[in-house]
Symmetry: D3
Subunit: 163 residues, 6 copies
């Protein structure tokens, strides 16, 4: 047969992690949802027509963490040992801060799972408040802490991190 | 039977849209991924080990749009007639701008589908670049345009919108 | 070609509903979870380690309704216009009663979606309480009301139905 | 920043099982579907229009076991080593008994997977028979055996359990 | 802002079908699985350890049809009104022929759903027989009939098509 | 109780692999898509309206590998350590050859994942080209290499295999 190999540049793959060790992996990610003070008050007082915004966002974030590899194409499908989410209502800046902490014992980090969890939680907040506020903005989705793996511990500068 | 009704406040539901009309619905959402100039250059030159970042992010965003109602709990599962995504490399500000345009003919708007598409595309960019840059930040996930439905047309102030 | 047709008896299919009309469809289903009074008290007081049992069960039931056709093989994948769930704590009989009401405008009934919603909500209650009570039993998953379609209205005898 | 922490009471989480040991885990669950004798006869004789009821229910139950963590929000996504299902036609009591046996080697029990498998199988039976019998009731979804883990072996009282 | 637009060539999108009419759509696809005569006999006599091969493949094919848009990136997520599958054991050529017929009333054709259904059924046959025969080959996955839509009726030449 | 056990013959199950050892598993599968020379040229020159065919097919194949156990009923849900895909444009025979290589460290082989990956990639090629060519045929989906497990190494006769 006479083949013409296609361009190798940029060919996507799910890189093999088979040689990596099973170690404890922790990742913490954060995001913020900016909204009008009036919207924030309705969330805090649980007055949205669609239901208790943060209770639903919390479930959505945890379920989202488990579905990460279905959405992010080159992400490995892994077993998560634990997922915890936290929300803070920041009245001064009129926004909700979201934090997701994900753990596993495995061959790959869980940054994407933590980032996906806060992202889904933020979108859920948007969805449940959009009838009263279309100007909301989801920002600052970022990794703040990462433990485990060959690259060691990562702590984002300028973040206030517990523990 | 003697029931004690649980607190109705904040009880979540997927609100009935059965009485809404089937109309053309369009939603456009945007997001940005901030990264180091060196990372951006690797994306532009398609040198990432995991593959062509924007090609994968585009597929991920479109597939993500279709999965929106699986992740956002109170979101209706709807048929989308079209999804289009666009990426712009902004060297001056060292970031990638993402735009998703989603269309349907139906009873509900498609804001969440557009917002979810840019969110998944942004996370995919993060995933494919994270080996060289852990400080990336996903920001400004927002709705910029919405057409159709009872609330009429929405255009975010200060955005440059085509068409 | 010489074919030997396989036995037609019992050959499964997703029956064609293309000739059915698009009408308003409503289905209401119920289920009960029996547990020890002590367990029930912990649910009512939101003291379970895994979180607020009924808040999570509500989200799970609604999301489950949307996933029905992925789990029940011969069930059509349809658009739901609305899903609402209700829980009642029945101290006298030491159980939780669950009700799901599902609506659509389409060619097939939504019984399975309502039954699946109460089933998933019941299993979620079980999951969140199982650390303190393994003897719980999920019972009486049944259709109580069905409106729309050629077969007309169905009301289960002996049920107390509102509206 | 000045944060107002939201109420911690009932905050849902997927509890961390990272410190648990990988051991053999077995769970057996059962359920029953009550129907009219005429319906049961049609199942036994494979005369339902939608196909062979028990053959489809068996596949549905096994596939359902694998999807458990997608539906039950706080349930860990785990690898299952084996799933087996059994059905018994009980003419005397006009019902079908369902049993699911699920195994894994891991950090969490598989009760939810076994309970979900019988639940999905029962709903599938309902779906395939509902054209001729809307009064069917799914009952007695319960755990009958659990092996492995810190809490040791659980055997439900009053059940006839093999092996 | 100064943008550098990325190359438009080959940019993937889910093309908008909003202007297409809702018409009856039918698609019929076929595939074959070639195997050793001994393997075929075990399928016909239902002696495989994993279970009744064709009964499982039938359920898998129907469920696969419903999941098509989750796997094929640019495929629209649509409501299917009916799915029917047929299997023929061809002893002379030592293979199993698979046919899937898919219907909908909508804006897009259902070729991909029919092709995906036969593909998943074929892979299921492979999976259930692979312990005794690793040399099986899945071939001739093709569209044989297509009705509805602007392009009109398509009938593959050389195929024996009923109806 | 008086039970009538249903026929055990052909009862499907997901066979228990709990006693198998965790070893390195590799599987390589291949498939071909035959098309008109004109269609092939449009793929090679990236002129299809839906986008860059091979770039999308690559992402689809990798994502498909991760979803295998959701589609193939008796297939175990497993963690994959790596997935790589390759495409070759064969102008002489007017077809595209697809190869998927899947790896894991686990208790079951990954043949089905590799076969599913090439199958989904082939269907994606079909989907993206079908507007210009309905006569395409997907053929020769087969396993070419398998390493690991009790049955040892398998190499299909007559295949040119690297490494």
């Amino acid at each position: 047969m006479e083949f013409t190999h296609i361009d190798e540049r940029g060919r996507a793959k799910m890189v093999d992690v088979g040689s990596k060790e099973d170690t404890l992996r922790i990742a913490v990610a954060r995001a913020s949802v900016q909204m009008e003070p009036k919207t924030l008050a309705m969330v805090a007082e649980r007055k949205m027509k669609k239901g208790d915004v943060l209770a639903v966002a919390q479930v959505a974030g945890i379920m989202g963490a488990k579905k990460t590899s279905e959405l992010i194409p080159m992400c490995h499908n892994i077993f998560l040992t634990g997922v915890d989410m936290d929300f803070e209502i920041d009245e001064k800046n009129a926004c909700i801060h979201i934090e997701a902490s994900v753990k596993t014992i495995g061959k790959t980090g869980v940054e994407m799972e933590a980032l996906h969890a806060v992202s889904v939680a933020a979108l859920t907040i948007y969805d449940m408040c959009k009838a009263v506020d279309k100007n909301m903005v989801i920002s600052d989705i970022r990794l703040v802490k990462k433990i485990g793996g060959k690259s060691g511990t990562y702590l984002r500068e300028g973040e206030c991190i517990e523990g």
